[in-house]
């Protein structure tokens, strides 16, 4: 076996061990610069690179040559300007500095709750998406159809082009390739982010909490479907960025945010699919809730007390995140290494730990990169276990969890294969994968427009 293949096998081994309740040989290093940071680090105009992702191809390679990581240290992006701009997006807009951001926008009025609760997918397509994407003007159907087609083609092309930068690097440098997974949101966050807005949801929590709860239940099957990996393996995971809880009172969180999210995590777990949470901001006051999630949930922390997190959650869940990005900017190399050492001392013992940063890196300069590289190499060289192969904490069993699919996902804008066959009874079954694949891809695209 070549050295690179061997290295890749070692990396797959240490990540899989963490997910398999085993103490790995060493702590996996999981660092990844955003697409924008990758381009910027190589001196490429980030706006241009986002319009033509292949411009960042050499930049991606430069990052791999500079920064140690066991997973690929650069990646694609969820957001490229092409497909948003074509649709005249209100919710994703490129700022004057070239970063696509999400301004506060309202896609759903309080009067729309009843329709959302009754017919959630129809409401998203008929009301919410056209409000957030002005090119989807229901009064101008031909232009709308053209804009939507262009946007979808741009989406596919740019996502593919960006992954074309990354995939060869995974093989060339022998990185851990990851596993097929899914991406979703907590139903409450989905309702908050682009339907009701940050301000709107905070009004609703106090004014119409029952409708908020019913809306989360109505959105549940959509989010469950959205996050479902197309192929389920032992290592499949659904990732969620978690947005609203730290801005809420616990009593509102407990009643309105948590129930539908917990059901989502349990249902995936019952199918053998893991959950991976970006615990944005500081989740200390919700630490006991996190404990209740299915065993081996990956918890990416931004802030919080390391010792408390390890003590309360470290035997059940997989802990990651927490290394302060700000220290790379403000600290010396030695201070950064000292922090990494402190983290290894506290978080590594007993396994179930992956090294990563507290935030996504959206820009990085030479000095910060030197600090980050020093940290990554320190963890690689010093995060070794003497008890590799031993059992690490609690074991995950999918039988421990209950499946709850929620109400059936139905919409006049989505056909199951059976429904399609009833309408077109001469269609060959050979066409099933193709036709149903298109249906699923469009479902993913539409629901992504609101994440």
């Amino acid at each position: 076996m070549s050295d690179v293949k061997e290295l890749q096998q070692e990396r797959i081994g240490i990540f899989n061990d963490v997910h398999d309740n085993k103490v790995p040989k060493r702590v996996p290093v999981n660092l990844s610069l955003s697409f924008e940071a990758t381009a910027q680090f190589a001196g490429i105009d980030i706006a241009a690179a986002q319009w033509k992702p292949s411009l960042a191809s050499e930049a991606a390679e430069k990052v791999c040559q500079t920064l140690y990581s066991d997973s690929c240290p650069t990646g694609g992006s969820l957001r490229f300007p092409s497909f948003y701009e074509i649709l005249k997006s209100q919710s994703f807009i490129m700022g004057s500095n070239g970063f696509i951001q999400h301004p506060e926008v309202v896609g759903m009025d309080p009067e729309d709750y009843d329709y959302l609760i009754e017919n959630p997918y129809d409401c998203l397509l008929e009301r919410v998406i056209p409000r957030q994407y002005k090119a989807l003007n229901l009064n101008d159907p031909i232009s709308m159809a053209i804009s939507l087609t262009k946007s979808y083609l741009a989406y596919q092309a740019d996502m593919g082009e960006a992954m074309g930068n990354v995939i060869p690097l995974v093989q060339k440098y022998g990185y851990y390739p990851g596993n097929p997974g899914g991406f979703a949101e907590a139903p409450f966050d989905y309702l908050a982010d682009q339907l009701r807005s940050f301000k709107g949801i905070n009004m609703d929590i106090r004014r119409i909490p029952d409708k908020v709860a019913a809306a989360c239940d109505a959105l549940y099957p959509i989010l469950l479907k959205k996050g479902m990996p197309s192929v389920i393996t032992k290592y499949s995971r659904v990732t969620y960025p978690l947005h609203m809880p730290t801005f809420m009172r616990e009593k509102d969180f407990e009643k309105l945010w948590w129930p539908s999210f917990k059901r989502l995590c349990d249902t995936y777990a019952s199918m053998g699919v893991g959950n991976q949470l970006w615990c944005e901001d500081n989740w200390t006051r919700y630490i006991d809730y996190l404990y209740e999630l299915p065993t081996n949930t990956v918890l990416i922390f931004e802030y919080g007390d390391m010792k408390q997190i390890k003590e309360k959650l470290g035997k059940k869940h997989i802990i990651t995140g927490l290394f302060p990005l700000a220290l790379l900017k403000a600290g010396t190399k030695q201070q950064c290494i000292d922090k990494a050492k402190e983290m290894l001392d506290i978080l590594a013992p007993g396994g179930k730990y992956i090294f990563s940063l507290d935030k996504i890196v959206i820009s990085i300069n030479e000095r910060e990169m030197e600090n980050l590289s020093a940290v990554a190499e320190y963890v690689r060289d010093n995060g070794k276990y003497s008890n590799a192969g031993e059992t690490a904490g609690m074991e995950f069993n999918k039988e421990d969890y209950k499946t709850d699919m929620g109400r059936a996902f139905e919409s006049k804008y989505y056909s199951t294969w059976e429904q399609y066959k009833n309408m077109n009874n001469r269609t060959s079954d050979i066409g099933k994968d193709k036709l149903q694949g298109l249906e699923e891809r469009l479902f993913q695209y539409f629901t992504s427009l609101l994440i």
């Binding site: 807009i93 700022g95 004057s96 500095n97 970063f99 951001q101 999400h102 301004p103 506060e104 940050f198 301000k199 949801i201 905070n202 009004m203 929590i205 106090r206 004014r207 609203m244 730290t246 801005f247 809420m248 009172r249 509102d252 990005l325 700000a326 900017k329 403000a330 959206i362 820009s363």
Partner: protein, 212 residues
């Protein structure tokens, strides 16, 4: 006349229904402008309670947002009896999210809490270049300039904005406060701001200290 303490308490508890019930009852008695100003002051005291509860960790950002909306509704309800003269503001703040950054939730919370404390706020909006701050400061001669941002990159834009104020020769005529997720003491020094905060309630208190 309404029981001002009850009103202050209801605002502090964010009991919207009760607040609006009291205010609607008050307006229907056709009160004098002077009485109306006392009621406004009682609502503002309620907002100070909200700020205190936030600092104590009993309220969270969502509650501040609700409080801002509640106060706007309260003032709107009182408008017919407030007259046009209004009370003299305690000072003017020129506020904006700095260049490159499109986030406005934190800025808006600070704005509504500053207004509740009696400031007049000129809100420039989001992604505002240094020149927009400079022009507005020249025009309004405010006591305070507030710069907001969420991205770490906002820190650079804040520094550029302060530098532009210096270049225009107006830096020393205003106090500068920066707010948002990435601001720190070190960043404040480097940017050349007078104060920083990640807490809107605290930010308002700092501004109050400056205009005393």
């Amino acid at each position: 006349m309404v029981d001002l303490k009850t009103l202050t308490g209801a605002v502090g508890e964010l009991d919207e229904e009760r607040v609006l019930e009291i205010l609607n009852g008050f307006v229907s008695t056709n009160p004098s402008e002077e009485e109306a100003q006392k009621v406004v002051a009682a609502c503002q005291s309620g907002m100070a309670i909200v700020g205190d509860l936030y600092e104590k960790g009993e309220y969270f950002v969502g509650d501040l947002i609700f409080a801002g909306e509640l106060l706007t509704n309260a003032i709107n309800t009182l408008k017919p009896v407030l007259g046009n003269t209004g009370s003299a503001g305690v000072g003017t703040i020129v506020l904006g999210t700095v260049a490159g950054d499109l986030h406005d939730i934190g800025k808006n919370i600070f704005k509504s809490m500053s207004e509740a404390a009696g400031f007049t706020v000129a809100d420039l909006g989001i992604d505002q270049p240094a020149s927009a701050f400079v022009e507005k400061v020249k025009e309004l001669k405010p006591a305070v300039v507030g710069m907001s941002g969420v991205l770490t990159l906002a820190l650079e834009a804040m520094k550029e904005t302060v530098d532009a104020l210096k270049e225009a020769g107006i830096r020393d005529s205003v106090k500068v406060i920066i707010g948002g997720n990435p601001v720190t003491k070190e960043a404040c020094v480097q940017i050349g701001a007078d104060a920083f905060t990640t807490n809107a309630a605290e930010g308002v208190k700092i501004c109050q200290g400056w205009v005393k």
